[in-house]
C-alpha cells in the first residue's frame, strides 16, 4: 500500500516535471533549472556534512572547477560533444578533490572547514588574476553549446531552452538518484558510521581516511556536475561561482531544508528559490530574509524543513522534542564523550 502511494507520488511528480515548461512558461522553467542545479549542489554538500560529518566552507570551488572545466573544454576543443564537456566538469572537480584529499583527509572540524575556505579563496583569487585562462572578472562566456548528439540516432539542438531543460533535468535528476542510491549501499552505511564514531569504524577494519577520501571525491564530483550544467545553462562561468557566497549557499540550504535527511537539501534549494522569487519583488535585501529564516529554523526546527514536515505529518511520538534532540545531539561534530 505504502509503496503504491509512493509510486503514484513519483509518477505525478514526473508528469508535472515533463509538462512544467508548458504549464508555467519559459521564465519559471529557467527558475526551476537553477533550483535543480542548486539542489544537486546542496545534496553533494550534504553527502559530506550530513552523512560523513565533514563541514566545509569552500564547496563552491568544486562547483566552480566543474564549471570552468566545462567552459574551457567547450571554448578550446573544436566540436567537443556535450556529454564529454559534462565529463570534463565532473573530472575537473574530482581531480581537484583528489589533489586536496591527502591534506584535508587528516583534518577535522574547523580546521577542515577553514582550509577549504583558504583553498577556495586561493582559487577565487587565481581565477581573477589569471586573465589569459579564466578571463578575470568577466569569466568565460559565449562558448558554443553543442547539440546532444548520438551518431545515427538523434541530434537535439541544446540552444533551445526547452530542450536544455529536459537535458539538464535528466542529468541533475540522474545524479541525484545516483547520490541517493549511494547512501543506501553498504558504503553509504560506512560513511554514516564514520560520522557517528570514526574510531569504532577503524576497529571494525575499515580504512577511515580512504572512506573519507572516496566520499569526498564523489561529493565533489557531483558538485562539479552541478557547476558544469550551470556553466552550460548560463553560457557563462565567472569567478563569483567560486566565491564565498557560493560556498555559503549549500550550507544554508542544507540547514534550512534539513541536515537529517537526503531530501533535506532539495527542499532547502526549493525554499530558497521560492524566497528569492517572492522577496526580490519587494526588497533588495534577500539575504536578510534568508538569514532570519536560517536563525528561526535552527532555533525552533534544528532538523530543518523535513523536521517540520515530520511534525506536520503527525509523527508526534517519534519526534517528541526531547527524544528527537537526543538523536541528533552531538552527531555533527559534537562532543565525543
Amino acid at each position: 500500500m505504502k509503496k503504491r502511494v509512493k509510486g503514484i507520488v513519483w509518477g505525478i511528480t514526473l508528469v508535472i516535471l515533463v509538462l512544467y515548461p508548458w504549464l508555467f512558461g519559459i521564465y519559471f522553467t529557467n527558475v526551476l533549472v537553477t533550483c535543480a542545479i542548486f539542489a544537486l549542489f546542496a545534496v553533494s554538500y550534504n553527502l559530506l556534512l550530513g552523512y560523513t560529518g565533514l563541514f566545509s566552507f569552500g564547496h563552491a570551488m568544486f562547483f566552480g572547477a566543474g564549471g570552468y572545466a566545462t567552459a574551457l573544454a567547450l571554448t578550446h576543443i573544436e566540436g567537443c560533444p556535450l556529454l564529454v564537456a559534462l565529463l570534463f566538469g565532473f573530472l575537473g572537480a574530482v581531480v581537484l578533490a583528489l589533489l586536496l584529499s591527502p591534506i584535508v583527509a587528516r583534518l577535522a572540524h574547523s580546521a577542515f572547514a577553514m582550509l577549504h575556505l583558504a583553498f577556495s579563496m586561493l582559487l577565487y583569487t587565481l581565477a581573477l588574476k589569471l586573465r589569459g585562462i579564466t578571463g578575470g572578472e568577466d569569466g568565460i562566456g559565449g562558448f558554443p553549446i553543442p547539440p546532444f548528439h548520438i551518431p545515427g540516432i538523434v541530434s537535439v539542438d541544446m540552444t533551445d531552452p526547452l530542450h536544455f531543460y529536459y537535458f539538464a533535468m535528466a542529468v541533475l535528476g540522474g545524479s541525484l538518484w545516483i547520490a541517493w542510491f549511494l547512501t543506501k549501499t553498504p558504503f553509504g552505511q560506512i560513511i554514516v558510521s564514520v560520522r557517528d564514531n570514526a574510531k569504532r569504524v577503524d576497529y571494525l577494519g575499515f580504512k577511515v581516511p580512504h572512506t573519507k577520501a572516496i566520499i569526498y571525491a564523489l561529493s565533489c564530483g557531483f558538485a562539479g556536475i552541478a557547476g558544469s550544467i550551470y556553466a552550460m545553462f548560463q553560457d557563462l562561468i565567472s569567478a563569483s561561482a567560486l566565491g564565498i557566497a557560493q560556498s555559503f549557499a549549500p550550507i544554508v540550504m542544507t540547514m534550512v531544508g534539513g541536515v537529517i535527511a537526503f531530501s533535506g537539501p532539495i527542499w532547502g534549494a526549493a525554499i530558497f528559490a521560492l524566497i528569492e522569487e517572492l522577496t526580490t519583488r519587494y526588497t533588495e535585501r534577500v539575504q536578510l530574509v534568508e538569514g532570519l529564516i536560517l536563525i528561526i529554523v535552527i532555533l525552533f526546527f534544528p532538523g530543518g524543513f523535513v523536521h517540520l514536515l515530520a511534525v506536520v505529518k503527525g509523527k508526534w511520538l517519534e519526534f517528541v522534542r526531547g527524544k528527537w534532540l537526543g538523536s541528533i545531539k552531538g552527531k555533527w561534530f559534537g562532543k565525543q564523550s
Partner: protein, 291 residues
C-alpha cells in the same frame, strides 16, 4: 635615513598597525573559540557594526572619542544578546548548529546595516587631535596609525593582565581548557560564556572603530577583515592568544611587504601560508587540540 629605508620602515609600521588591529579582532575570536568551541562566523559582522555605530555617534554628536567609547560597548551589548537568546538555546545540539546560527546572524547584521545606512562608503574623519604627521627619524608618518598601534597595545596589556593576573582570568583560562570541569566546580559557565562573548565582540568593535577612519565605513568592511582574522585564528592555533598575536603581526607584515614586492600574489600569500602550516600541523602553530 635615505628614501628606500624610510619606505621599508613606513611599510613595516603600516604592517604593524594592520597586524595589531587584526589581533584585536582575532583575539576575541580565538577566546570565544577556545571557550565555547564555536567558530563565530558573525565576529567580523560585529566588527563592521561597530564602525557603523561609531559613524552614527559622530553624525549625532560630532565627537569621535565618544564614538570610540560608546560604539564598541553597544556592539558588545548586541553580542551578549545574541549569545544569551540565540546561541545558548541551541548549545546542547552541538557545534554545527551553533556555527550555522552564527552564519545566520552574520547575514542578518550585514544586510540590516545596508537597510539602515545604505551601501555607500561613509567617511569618518580622523579626530583633529590625531591628524597630521609625526617625524620619526627624519620620516613623516601619519599619527593616527601610531595611535592605533598604541590603542591595540593598551588593550593587549589590559587583556593579558586580566587573563593572567586576576581570579576572573584564571577561571576563563580554566574554562578554555575544560569548560565542563569548571562548570562542575560550581562556576556559572553559561554566564562566563556570555561575558567572554561580550568581551570578544567589544574588542572586535574597538578594532572596527579604530580602522574606520582609514578604510571608511562600508558594507564590505567585514569581508576585507574577516578572512584575515579567521586565518590568524586558525594558523595561530585555536584558543591560543600568543599564537594569534604572532600570526596577526606576521600577517600584517606579509600583506604590507607583499603588496610591495609581489603585488600580483599579495592576496594569496596568507592562504598559501595557512595551507602550508595546516598541512604540517593541523592544530595550528600553538594549538594543542584540533578545532
Amino acid at each position: 635615513m635615505d628614501a628606500t629605508t624610510a619606505m621599508y620602515v613606513a611599510q613595516g609600521i603600516h604592517g604593524l598597525a594592520y597586524g595589531m588591529v587584526l589581533f584585536l579582532v582575532a583575539s576575541g575570536l580565538t577566546l570565544i573559540f577556545g571557550m565555547m568551541g564555536i567558530l563565530n562566523v558573525a565576529h567580523t559582522a560585529f566588527f563592521m557594526l561597530a564602525a557603523y555605530f561609531c559613524y552614527q555617534v559622530v553624525a549625532w554628536t560630532g565627537n569621535f572619542w565618544l564614538g570610540l567609547l560608546v560604539a564598541p560597548i553597544a556592539t558588545a551589548v548586541v553580542g551578549v544578546l545574541v549569545e544569551r537568546f540565540l546561541l545558548r538555546r541551541i548549545h546542547a545540539l552541538g557545534l554545527l548548529f551553533e556555527l550555522t546560527l552564527t552564519i545566520g546572524v552574520m547575514f542578518g547584521i550585514m544586510e540590516a546595516v545596508k537597510v539602515f545606512w545604505g551601501t555607500e562608503n561613509l567617511p569618518l574623519a580622523v579626530p583633529t587631535l590625531l591628524e597630521g604627521l609625526v617625524n620619526i627619524g627624519g620620516m613623516e608618518y601619519p599619527l593616527y596609525r601610531l595611535f592605533i598601534i598604541g590603542l591595540s597595545l593598551a588593550v593587549l596589556v589590559f587583556l593579558a593582565f586580566i587573563l593572567y593576573k586576576t581570579r576572573l582570568g584564571m577561571v576563563v583560562r580554566a574554562a578554555v581548557a575544560d569548560a565542563d570541569m569548571v562548570n562542575a566546580l560550581g562556576i556559572n559557565v553559561p554566564r562566563l560564556f556570555m561575558f567572554v562573548f561580550g568581551v570578544g565582540t567589544w574588542m572586535a568593535g574597538l578594532a572596527g572603530v579604530a580602522i574606520a577612519p582609514i578604510l571608511t565605513v562600508f558594507p564590505g568592511l567585514a569581508d576585507q577583515m574577516g578572512m584575515d582574522a579567521f586565518i590568524v585564528v586558525i594558523v595561530g592555533g585555536f584558543g591560543s592568544l600568543g599564537g594569534a598575536l604572532l600570526v596577526a603581526l606576521i600577517s600584517g607584515l606579509l600583506s604590507s611587504y607583499g603588496v610591495q614586492f609581489v603585488s600580483q600574489l599579495a592576496p594569496v600569500l596568507m592562504f598559501i601560508f595557512m595551507a602550508i602550516v595546516l598541512a604540517i600541523k593541523p592544530t595550528g602553530l600553538f594549538g594543542e587540540r584540533e578545532g
